[in-house]
């Protein structure tokens, strides 16, 4: 129960940060990405502010053996750089530059942001489901091939 409250409060503060910083305005985001327009440094300043706070705090937190509401940390462990990472990031960037929404601001804007925001979020969820479906399909094929090989 305590974990539910801390997760919801973390989401609330995260969302408030996105609103305060102007990141729920797609024109502010595109204003940063378009280096040849009237450049808006806001997005860069947001990242600096977030890193100024999170980098030292996560170092302190990482000294703990366990988080406060769970028995273990769930940290990313992969270090390899593959085509999927780069290709995925490239596709994400193209969509981000087209609409000016990335996942966080899109979710925060979904209800108060009008038809443009909700359209974007619906399509974004569709894109996520598409990858899950294709991954599931690929995993099934690998399993079937392995089973056929074993049965031969």
């Amino acid at each position: 129960m305590k974990g539910l409250i801390t997760a919801a409060l973390s989401g609330l503060v995260f969302g408030a940060g996105l609103v305060v910083s102007g990141m729920t305005r797609p024109d502010v985001v595109v204003g940063f990405l378009d280096l040849l327009g009237p450049w808006d440094p806001s997005l860069g300043v947001v990242m600096v502010g977030a890193l100024l706070v999170h980098t030292p705090l996560r170092r302190v937190i990482d000294h703990r053996t366990a988080p406060l509401c769970s028995t273990s940390f769930s940290r990313p462990t992969r270090r390899d750089i593959d085509g999927r990472l780069v290709g995925g990031a490239a596709l994400f960037g193209v969509g981000w530059g087209l609409a000016g929404y990335c996942p966080g601001p899109a979710v925060v804007s979904a209800l108060p942001g009008g038809p443009k925001a909700i359209t974007f979020v619906a399509a974004m969820l569709g894109g996520m489901l598409l990858v899950h479906f294709l991954d599931g399909f690929a995993a099934t094929r690998v399993a079937r091939t392995a089973a056929a090989e074993a049965g031969r």
């Binding site: 609330l12 490239a90 530059g97 894109g127």
Partner: protein, 143 residues
């Protein structure tokens, strides 16, 4: 652009850093929005209730703040429904393929000095700049 106008992005960014730290300290997890939302859409997923609670917090932030700062939610960009759908599909699929977005790779990953996250951030900033340039300077600012 004045120094004063940089204060809201700085304070907002610090709130984001604080929220990512509290999710790590209390729940032991990375505050990556595409991972949290994507995980909710999967059948077998860890800590579904925490993901749902985090998303409820995000949605609530929007609903609570829209009466206070309605201007923060205005979208003045000229984008057709078709363009928004294509952009949404790209963002959804791209962040799942690449395991993260501006929050997971951009904030949490860079704070860990992860080479994967640095690669991701440089890549999506690069293609983001290219597509923003294309829309604003090749296609005349509307899509």
């Amino acid at each position: 652009m004045t120094l004063q106008s940089l204060l809201p992005p700085l304070v907002g960014g610090m709130l984001i850093g604080l929220a990512a730290s509290s999710y790590l300290l209390f729940n032991g997890r990375i505050a990556g929005i595409s991972g949290i939302v994507g995980g909710l859409l999967q059948r077998r997923t860890q800590e579904r209730h925490w993901r749902a609670a985090f998303v409820v917090g995000l949605v609530l932030a929007g609903l609570l703040l829209v009466p206070v700062v309605p201007d923060a939610f205005v979208n003045p960009l000229s984008r057709s429904t078709g363009a928004l759908i294509v952009a949404g599909l790209l963002v959804g699929a791209g962040t799942r393929l690449g395991n993260g977005c501006t929050s997971g790779h951009g904030v949490c990953g860079l704070a860990r000095m992860s080479p994967r996250s640095l690669t991701s951030v440089l890549t999506f900033m690069g293609t983001g700049a290219a597509s923003a340039f294309a829309v604003n300077h090749v296609l005349g600012g509307a899509l």
